[in-house]
Symmetry: C2
DNA sequence: ATTAAATATGTTACATTATAACATATCATT
DNA sequence: AATGATATGTTATAATGTAACATATTTAAT
């Protein structure tokens, strides 16, 4: 499984390597879980990882279609459901978009920093955040099933750039 | 302005009072900001507060129509935009639904506990959560504009009930 | 009071996101 | 080869949200 990556991808890194690693990880997760990593599913995951920012379902659909595949919305949503179930991608509710998980296979509740300017996303897995949220919940007798923690703002790269 | 309410509304409380208070608060906020608290806007806010759970835009639309008002989607979305701008309602991204703000007028980033069983929502304003999220962000050079922190699970009431 | 500007609402049409339902194909097992 | 399980194709539609332009209402000047 791949190492933990920095919060935001560094501008100059070899992203092809990230994609390859993500696909290899996915293959391994599927094998371990007895799930089929079909061409469609692999291609959808690859498209998500190749993109520098989260992709909407219909953006993925458009891509598949330009590749000559016969694709309809259910094609994409089924693949996305599958990938989510296996923890290979996350859905960002505030964007209606999907991004690759940086720690597939491990059970986790993540937090997301989303740049309003360039769209880049950092997936955090901060125990401190989860801890304080859990404390707040249990002190009110609430049992947490799932968290959706998404923070919009400006990433370091965009903050450096002049105004705009 | 109304006092800070408990996390989850107690089952036996007088909810009409909550609604009246929310409308009064809204009127006051609008006056202070020089905004018009029109019939439509008041009615949308009232519907949201009267509901025991967050309302979708088209649920609100249906209500308005049964009251004989000529209403189309833009009618509702405009009112919702207005109410959000003034901090009178919040949009829950994970539900595509809207709930009344428990502390209107004050600038704040809230967190929401959402019961999967009964739909009830608790709006929290935990400084500790905001603090640790902010720390995580700034340590990565990220400037926060807005948070969307929504936690799905089971509320105390539903937890007490037998299985289901 | 009259006019003009700003604000709010009505109305039609459409864009975007997601799912239901059923047919067909592919894969795994016997 | 036959069977059941899983995956995909296909059509249609549901659910959520917005663009654009016309009309009405309120507010502020004249
Ligand atoms: Zn993840
Ligand atoms: Zn950025
Ligand atoms: Zn609030
Ligand atoms: Zn409940």
């Amino acid at each position: 499984m791949s190492e933990i990556s920095a919060a935001f991808p560094s501008p100059g890194h070899n992203h092809d390597h990230c994609v390859d690693q993500a696909l290899a990880d996915a293959r391994s997760v599927c094998r371990r879980r007895g799930a089929r990593f079909t061409e469609q599913r692999a291609r959808v995951l690859e498209l998500i990882w190749q993109s520098h920012r989260p992709l909407g379902a219909y953006q993925i659909l458009d891509q598949l279609r330009t590749e000559g595949r016969s694709a309809q919305p259910p094609t994409v949503y089924r693949a996305l459901d599958f990938l989510q179930d296996l923890g290979l991608v996350h859905r960002l509710a505030s964007l209606n978009a999907y991004c690759g998980c940086v720690a597939p296979g491990a059970q986790h509740q993540s937090q997301f920093l989303i740049c309003r300017e360039c769209g880049v996303v950092a997936e955090l897995r901060e125990q401190a955040i989860l801890r304080v949220v859990t404390e707040a919940a249990v002190s009110r007798g609430f049992r947490i099933d799932e968290t959706s923690i998404e923070v919009a703002g400006i990433c370091p790269d965009c903050a450096r750039k002049p105004s705009r």
